[in-house]
Amino acid sequence: MYQRILATSITTKLLLAMAAGLVFVILMSLLYYANLVTIRSRLALVESMDDLGVAVGEMRRAEKNLLLYHDRTSADELSAQIEHTREAIRDKAAELIKLEGAGYVEALEHDVSLYAELARSLVTGEAAADGADRLRERGQAVERYSRGIVHAERERIDRMIVASHRTLLFSLVAVLGFGAAAVLVVSRLVVVPLRRIERATREVSEGRFRPIRGIRSRDEIGRLAIAFNHMAERIQRHQDELVRAGRLASLGTLTSGVAHELNNPLNNISMIAQTFVEHYHALTEDERVEYMNEVDRQCERSREIVDNLLDFSRVRGSERTRGDISRLLERSLKLVRNQLDLGNITAVLQTGDELPPVLMNQHQIEQVMVNTFTNAVKAMPRGGTLRVTSGRSADGTCITVTVTDTGVGIPPEILPRIFDPFFTTSEVGGGTGLGLSVSYGIIKDHGGSIDVTSEPGKGSTFVISLPIDEGGASGDRKTQDPGG
């Protein structure tokens, strides 16, 4: 049943809810209407009973006259009224039986017969001495009896009216309750999942491509969630590809720098070797040793360059570890050192004292830094100063890295678009336009932020914030982790 409810569409759910409400209201109205009909028919009965009451009343009036005047006219009048009452009883017999049962009618008729007998014996003079009193008593009994039925019936009608008031009140409360329940159900079925989707959409717009969990219904919203998750998955995959492409792009930039850097020690080794061979006999023992030591040093220098490049290009797992941002900055600067030297750029690194560790994929963050530095180098074709500082944010929750160049700057009209994938300018050139969007994706994925301010002609400043790993910081102190 629950499964089937999950599968129905929102429209069907709403229609079902409305239909249920409608059925309830109709049932309540019918009940109320039936009550009203009963009350009306009972009221008609009571009114018709009044005829009987009037007849009995007339009979008692004639009785009074008879007892007062003891004349023939009064006697005739009473017997006529008795007959009239009997007719009224016969007329209303059906209703009386319906109201009070057949026994009641018989008892009433019996009472009236006894009354008639007493009246007749009084007129004929056959009556006992207390004949008048007995007639009066019997008359009172018939009157009470006939009135009692009307009185009881009125009470019953009163009860019915009170009951139908209660029914009305109850149905009002029930309708209100049903409405409230419907609002709750609709909000559970529609509003809550919509809010979840809204939240997920916001996260995606901030670069965190997480699927929506916990929406199990298969209605429009369920299908929307499935489509959303599908989209998030594809964007995530696309983002991963961009990260890989960005890695290759920065690797390409680094490789050309490395080729240059590597050619220098190679040239040194080559020149030493050529001189060594050519002047072998002229060289002293010490000089020969010194030449070979120099060759060894140049080999070591080459190996360092290659190691750096390998370290950068190696694709590692996506696991995040606690790391020191200042050491990462030193490493990243080393990777672009050659570009800085060739571009006549002075690099100034100011690292904050004892900064707490950051939980990060060190490789990805290194890539972000290399990208940012490479962009700064490109922005300073005539040389300049690259200033890199690390420190704590004002509120103390983040580590901030500020990268300032003294380059050409970014025109204000393109500033908002520089983090878009594939956005590039021909002036900046050389890149694939992947670097900044990839950096943005990586930093957002780390729960951080990347912001830029720029003044054309004066330079740009990139501020990268990464949340401090609080739990890790305390753990670090306890374990005295040498890596922290």
């Binding site: 050309s256 080729a259 240059h260 850097e261 050619n263 220098n264 190679l266 040239n267 040194n268 080794i269 080559s270 020149m271 030493i272 050529q274 001189t275 050519e278 002047h279 120099e294 140049q298 030297d341 060739l342 006549n344």
Partner: protein, 127 residues
């Protein structure tokens, strides 16, 4: 006799390049001056005459193109040989355009460098 020896200036921020070329070129009978600091080389070029200048292209402070330009302006007859660790068609074209005598990409063969210097001094027929 000192004054008759051709004067060669070698500028490269790699000390080994300076040392090795100096050793090999001195053996050829040249008077070799070397600088690893291109600013000092620039100052020397302002004040002194050299027959041949051998310079690296990419250096801190003053790069090889600037030294080439300065040499040609101050001493139009001085020959300039360019060395570079990262050769490209653009830099080679620019060097030739600025009347560089020769252009080598590292690693350099000392034999070729010596031959180029000899040609620059007119001691060997040009290729």
């Amino acid at each position: 006799m000192e004054t008759e020896r051709p004067r060669i200036l070698v500028v490269d921020d790699e000390k080994i390049v300076c040392d090795m070329s100096s050793r090999c070129l001195e053996e050829e009978g040249y008077d070799v001056t070397t600088f690893t600091d291109s600013k000092l080389a620039q100052a020397a070029l302002e004040n002194e005459h050299f027959d041949v200048v051998i310079t690296d292209l990419k250096m801190k402070d003053v790069d090889g193109m600037e030294l080439l330009e300065l040499t040609k302006r101050r001493h139009p007859l001085t020959k300039v040989i360019i060395l570079t660790a990262f050769g490209s068609l653009e830099t080679a074209t620019e060097a030739i355009h600025r009347e560089a005598f020769d252009y080598f990409t590292k690693p350099v063969r000392i034999r070729d460098l010596k031959a180029s210097v000899r040609r620059a001094l007119g001691r060997e027929p040009t290729k």
